[in-house]
């Protein structure tokens, strides 16, 4: 038998129909929806008199526009209110489960899928959101789709897809202390560029990946899309199985043991061929900070803001020039000399319990710097929020001068009231630093949770390795 990659295995087991030279019809095991990209899909179904084929495999949540402040208060944003009402109505009419903003299971769609055990190895998962790649951390084929495709999945529980090329990303060695999953993925994107993975599905491997917790693996897979690959996956192992056991939607008892036996087959065979391979040595990775307006514009905290003329390609020169103008940065400025106005620890990249624990450990007994206007902690889900509160993390953060909020996308995208004001600079644990992403004319620097916490304490970027980083996963 020819050796297969993990991607090929999952793909092959999901083909419903295939004709030569045509894209295949593949089955979708779990469909996640949210208030932002689903209303037009339901409207389309209605217009054609079509029904949701498998409401039992569809899960809905409110996350993008929800307030992270007191939810017993009325929603002020009328457009957001209409979105919530539309999602509620669509779910009620079609029988789709909804985690509305008052549910104790509510959270960011890519956080609650794994947390509730909806996400399982070997599945195909889609969502009208590009960071669906997160779920690949479980050895799952998961990717973002557009609203027309959401409508297609609602109607057919299938998707028309062509096979992708495969990209093997091997991260050798051990991560140094203070270097997190976020730094690894930022370094990878810096290396391959934001279009480097276009047309590919990535599989992460190597010692540095294997040693990550599920929380860390999700951080890596989450940002796969920032390197252009639509999906990223990690073969499931004991870490994965231990994480899943006992989660609400995961089979129990004998069914779970049988599932594990099946899941153990989910790995790339020895000798399986990838279309492209990228290698990285974890020992050589330092904490990363983005300086520009896309996640590939990134460097080590020990470096300086680059000079546009240091790039060979004319398009790169122009892009760097305009990014530095937008960011209000001068070439040659040491990264650690860049002051920060606001700190945001949250988003589907870095708002899980590991992230909050590491950040809390770092700020315990310290206080945010005077120049910091706001330091936000936004847990990825209400489940994480409750777990963190049980450990007393909320208290540590509050005492250090952070705001402790309710779960949602928040300042990652600024669709609710958590917006980064014009020309202000953030240290943010989210995944995109595009122009205007966190607010019009806002300036985003992407970092790991401990780097964000350290910046909050120092008032500017600082090499987190100067702090006690023993707790850093």
């Amino acid at each position: 038998m020819t050796p297969k990659t993990l991607y090929q295995k999952i793909w092959d087991s999901h083909v419903v129909h295939e004709s030569p030279g045509q894209p295949a019809l593949i089955y979708i095991d779990r469909h996640l929806i949210h208030e932002g990209t689903s209303p037009q899909a339901f409207a389309g179904l209605r217009a054609e008199g079509r029904k949701v084929r498998r409401p039992d495999l569809t899960f809905a949540v409110m996350d993008h526009s929800v307030p992270t402040t007191d939810r017993t208060l009325p929603i002020i944003d009328q457009d957001a209110k209409l979105q919530f009402e539309a999602l509620e109505k669509n779910c009620r009419e079609s029988g789709v489960r909804l985690f509305d903003m008052n549910s104790r299971h509510q959270g960011i769609v890519h956080i609650i899928g794994p947390e509730l055990g909806i996400t399982q190895p070997g599945q195909s998962i889609v969502c009208g959101d590009s960071h669906t790649s997160t779920h690949g951390a479980f050895g799952t084929l998961a990717f973002g789709i557009g609203t027309s495709e959401v409508e297609h999945v609602l109607a057919t529980q299938c998707l028309v897809q062509s096979r992708s090329k495969t990209l093997h990303i091997v991260v050798h060695g051990k991560r140094p202390k203070g270097v997190t999953a976020k730094d690894i993925i930022l370094a990878i994107i810096g290396k391959i560029g934001i279009g480097g993975g276009n047309g590919h599905v990535a599989e992460y491997a190597g010692e540095a990946i294997r040693s990550l917790s599920m929380d860390g693996r999700m951080t890596v897979c989450n940002m796969t899309i920032e390197g252009g690959a639509r999906a990223g996956m990690i073969a499931p192992d004991e870490t994965t199985f231990a994480y899943l056991e006992g989660r609400p939607f995961v089979p129990r008892g004998k069914a779970f043991q049988e599932a594990i036996e099946r899941w153990k087959q989910l790995h790339s065979d020895d000798g399986a061929k990838f279309d492209m391979t990228v290698e990285l040595h974890a020992e050589q990775v330092a904490p990363q900070v983005t300086w520009g307006t896309n996640p590939g514009m990134v460097t080590s905290v020990t470096e300086r803001v680059p000079d546009p003329h240091s790039f060979k390609d004319l398009n790169d020169q122009k892009a760097t020039e305009s990014a530095l103008k937008y960011m209000g940065l001068k070439p040659g400025t040491p990264i650690v000399d860049i002051p920060v106005d606001r700190v945001f620890i949250g988003s589907c990249t870095n708002s899980r319990l590991d992230d909050l624990r590491a950040a809390a450990h770092l700020v315990a007994g310290k206080h945010v710097a005077k120049n910091i206007k706001q330091a936000l902690i936004v847990p990825g889900s209400r489940g994480i929020k409750a777990a963190a509160e049980k450990e007393g993390l909320d208290k540590i953060f509050r005492e250090a001068g952070f705001e402790w909020r309710d779960a949602g996308c928040s300042m990652c995208i600024g669709m609710n009231a958590d917006v980064l004001p014009p020309h202000e600079r953030s240290a943010s644990t989210s995944n995109r630093n595009f122009e205007g992403r966190q607010g019009k004319d806002s300036r985003t620097h992407l970092v790991s949770p401990v780097m964000a916490a350290a910046a909050a304490i120092a008032g500017h970027f600082v090499d987190v390795r100067q702090f006690d980083v023993t707790s850093v996963e």
């Binding site: 419903v16 129909h17 526009s65 209409l82 789709i145 299938c158 028309v160 252009g228 205007g436």
Partner: protein, 213 residues
């Protein structure tokens, strides 16, 4: 969906690499409940000054590019968010064709759901089209999908690439969902065959989760 065969129209150059979908339709417009009206919003933060005054420095606001329907741009166009609001904006603005050296995957896919042709040409040919568009006012291109050509009035003919199955979707204006539903029996058969391993545990305490439960 509106079929696409040939199109002739004026080109407009957006000379940037890695244009992301956040730039095409910023987040404050993602709360809409319909697919309409995104043309006014396309490239919002570049196109408008405070108070929605057109920014005279943004290329699409140059009077000479008014009415353009062929968008010329650079590599990795449409990266970032999966929001289909971006192609809705492109289409509603009046563009039927995009020409670029490469596209981000999700955006590329979304174009075909909306009758937009994203044509791919090598970098140097895109460069040449940029030069000609900027030099000659009203520079227009004829895009022929059956022949996969892009031509101007001066005899330039370029061959672009597109997968045959993608081409067919545009040429026939196919409704994907309708086509897939014809495989209903196969979908049901797949569901039956995989029922045993596709199961999930149904937690009794979580059914329909609303109002704080």
């Amino acid at each position: 969906m509106q079929p696409f065969t040939t199109h002739t129209g004026m080109g407009a150059p957006v000379d940037r690499v890695n244009v992301d979908t956040d730039q095409m339709v910023p987040k404050q417009f993602l709360k809409a409940l319909t697919r309409e009206g995104f043309g006014r919003i396309l490239f919002y933060d570049w196109r408008y000054l405070p108070g929605e005054k057109p920014n005279p420095e943004f290329v699409l606001n140059f009077p000479r590019y008014k009415g353009a329907s062929v968008l010329l741009t650079r590599a990795n166009f449409g990266c970032g968010s999966s929001r289909e609001h971006a192609p809705w904006g492109v289409k509603d603005y009046g563009f039927r064709v995009i020409i670029a050296p490469s596209y981000a995957d999700i955006f590329y896919n979304n174009c075909f759901k909306n009758g937009i042709l994203p044509a791919t040409l090598p970098e140097d040919q895109v460069d040449e089209l940029f030069k000609r568009t900027e030099k000659e006012e009203g520079y227009s291109l004829t895009v022929n999908l059956p022949n996969q050509t892009i031509a101007d009035k001066h005899g330039l003919i370029l061959q672009f690439e597109i997968a045959p199955s993608r081409k067919e979707v545009l040429l026939k204006g196919l409704d994907d969902i309708g086509t897939s539903l014809q495989h209903g029996a196969e979908i049901t058969a797949y569901e039956k065959a995989h029922a045993a391993t596709a199961t999930m545990y149904e937690p009794l305490d979580i059914k329909y989760y609303s109002n704080g439960r």
